[in-house]
């Protein structure tokens, strides 16, 4: 402690040290409780829209709009869910969303992993240029390309098809960058040992580099899947027929002839969100890890 500090704290010498410490701990405790309270209230406010959507979805429509309806769940009427599942195209949209998102995830990871392996472990002409392209494509706003991407899909006859939804979503440069970082970190000795044994690059990639990086592969797979599932703008443009729509586009189509049915709209919204929400709650740690790693905050 500096001399100045001791001088400035001189007045405190009048109070016994133990008492001082107790008082300080006392105020800290109150402060901590207060902060905890504020945090929990903020969390409650944050989750409220989802809670309210759920409460609405399990009510009768007549009760939803009545003035007596309170904040607490007072009914358990699942008819809005049944209605949503069986009187709309929701199941078809599920299939479209699951199908396209799974294919996008597999293709993005495969192409990304292969490209990253070549960039990280191999020497070939144009390697630096390719890496520059990968880094630069980070910055390309795909939303600004939709006009000509649509023209292209139309030329290839892919409007209103899974391939049309999938193709423009296959460029996810961050997957390459993350894989490259992880491949760079694999010890060189392993590589040399395999090469001495007569193994080739494919053996190395699929038997050594990939198994060593299952953790990051599963993390990347989960966020790629969630991103693909949530994509709205592009599927909205490339799909016009209702039975080819994905969940995020389809659920905006659920309307009733006689005014809006709020219970049903909320049931549809929650059913649309359920797969990714459940995936997140199960793989919470993986999702957190993937977000942190892919944004480069934690390597």
């Amino acid at each position: 402690m500096s001399a100045q500090k001791i001088a400035s704290q001189g007045w405190r010498a009048a109070v016994p040290a133990s008492k001082r410490k107790e008082a300080k701990i006392g105020t800290r405790k109150i402060e901590n409780m207060l902060l905890l309270g504020i945090t929990l209230i903020a969390a409650a406010v944050w989750i409220f829209p989802l809670y309210w959507a759920f409460v609405t979805s399990i009510r009768d429509e007549s009760h939803v709009v009545s003035s007596e309806a309170g904040l607490l769940p007072d009914m358990l009427n699942l008819s809005a869910y049944g209605d949503a599942l069986f009187n709309s195209n929701l199941l078809t949209w599920y299939i479209n969303s699951i199908g396209t998102s799974v294919i996008i995830t597999v293709l993005v990871l495969m192409s990304g992993m292969m490209c990253a392996y070549a960039l990280s472990q191999m020497r070939f002409p144009g390697r630096r240029a390719l890496y520059a392209v990968v880094l630069a494509s980070f910055m390309i706003p795909s939303q600004a390309l939709v006009v000509t991407q649509f023209v292209l899909m139309n030329d290839m006859g892919l409007v209103n098809s899974w391939a049309g939804i999938i193709l423009p979503q296959l460029i996810v440069p961050v997957v390459i960058i993350v894989y490259k970082q992880f491949f760079d970190a694999v010890p060189k000795e392993m590589r040399e040992a395999v090469l001495l044994d007569g193994g080739g690059e494919y053996t190395l990639l699929f038997k050594i580099y990939l198994p060593l990086n299952w953790g990051i592969t599963s993390a990347l797979a989960i966020i790629t899947f969630i991103m693909a599932w949530n994509q709205f703008f592009w599927p909205f443009l490339v799909i016009t027929s209702e039975n080819m729509m994905t969940i995020p586009v389809g659920i905006t189509q659920v309307r009733d002839t006689f005014g809006v049915n709020y219970a049903r709209v909320m049931a549809v919204a929650l059913l649309g969100a359920a797969p990714v929400a459940i995936a997140y709650l199960i793989f919470q740690k993986k999702v957190t890890e993937a977000v942190m790693i892919s944004s480069g905050v934690k390597g």
Partner: protein, 292 residues
């Protein structure tokens, strides 16, 4: 040895081929085509005639373009700094918690981020419904009467901004938490031994060491919010009186509703260049920041 080298290169080319091919097909070609189309009067489908800089001249005298540009700027102002501040506050609060409670609270703040945009807009359209919305009594207390927020020029952008913050904030919270975890606890212990107050701990340790993450969040948000379309389209459709009309909305409407492929390409190219410039500046900024 030469055949070995050749084989090595062939394998490398096979490995990079899928990415390079898709990149050329869905990114490079559409970019070049967009530049070309912007100099023509083409409809969305089919080719047009070369009209030189006509589309750009028209753009510069199109008042809707300036309205969109202004609204994009307004939306950036309404979201970027507020979401960063809110995310930092939440991250600091969550970071104080431990164990299961921390996991639970973090999950609550992150959950909206993984929802599809249309789910978010439908929930909020219901929350703010003019007749039956649960938030209308609150608005009534503030303004004296219920407000049709998505049909009111002064309310529409701030409301969409608030919903966007609710939706995307979880991502920023995670980045801040990662940043906070990277700060060594020993620094706080040492400072606490020296009798530093909470305020001092934040100003002298947390804030400076967290600055790289803050800069990252700010710039990521800036780029993200320039590209806004989905929420606006779903909640207000750009209205009322174009008060929430944004650049991407203009691209969408010109191309897909008015069938002006050439003009839409010109608008898209402006947006493209705008975002690329901001991204390059961001990249440089972060690199300089990283070097310090």
């Amino acid at each position: 040895m030469i055949t070995n080298r050749r084989k090595h290169i062939m394998v490398a080319i096979t490995l990079i081929a899928p990415f390079v091919f898709i990149f050329a097909l869905v990114f490079l070609y559409p970019t070049l085509r967009m530049i070309e189309l912007s100099f023509t009067n083409a409809a969305l489908i089919g080719s047009g005639e070369w009209v030189g800089l006509d589309n750009y001249r028209r753009l510069l005298s199109d008042s809707l373009f300036y309205t969109s540009l202004k609204n994009n700027g307004y939306f950036v102002l309404l979201t970027v700094v507020p979401t960063t501040v809110i995310a930092l506050a939440i991250a600091l609060a969550v970071n104080r918690l431990a164990g299961r409670l921390q996991a639970l609270v973090l999950a609550i703040f992150f959950l909206p981020y993984i929802l599809p945009v249309s789910v978010v807009t439908q929930i909020w359209a219901w929350m703010l419904d003019f007749q039956f919305g649960i938030l209308q009594p609150l608005l009534e207390r503030m303004t004296g009467r219920p407000v049709a927020v998505f049909k009111h020029p002064a309310w529409v952008m701030p409301t969409i901004a608030a919903i966007t913050i609710w939706w995307t904030n979880g991502f920023n919270v995670l980045l801040f938490i990662a940043g906070l975890r990277n700060i060594s606890p020993e620094l706080y212990e040492a400072a606490a031994l020296d009798g530093a107050s909470r305020r001092q701990l934040f100003m002298k340790i947390t804030w400076p060491l967290l600055w790289p993450v803050t800069a990252l969040v700010l710039t990521l948000q800036l780029i993200l919010q320039l590209k806004i379309f989905d929420q606006v389209y779903l909640l207000s459709g750009g209205g009322p009186f174009n008060s929430s009309y944004v650049l991407l909305m203009m691209v969408y409407r010109e191309a897909f509703q008015l069938n002006h492929g050439g003009y839409a390409s010109a608008v898209a190219l402006v947006l493209f260049v705008l975002i690329m410039v901001v991204s390059v500046l961001q990249f440089q900024l972060l690199r300089i920041g990283g070097r310090k």
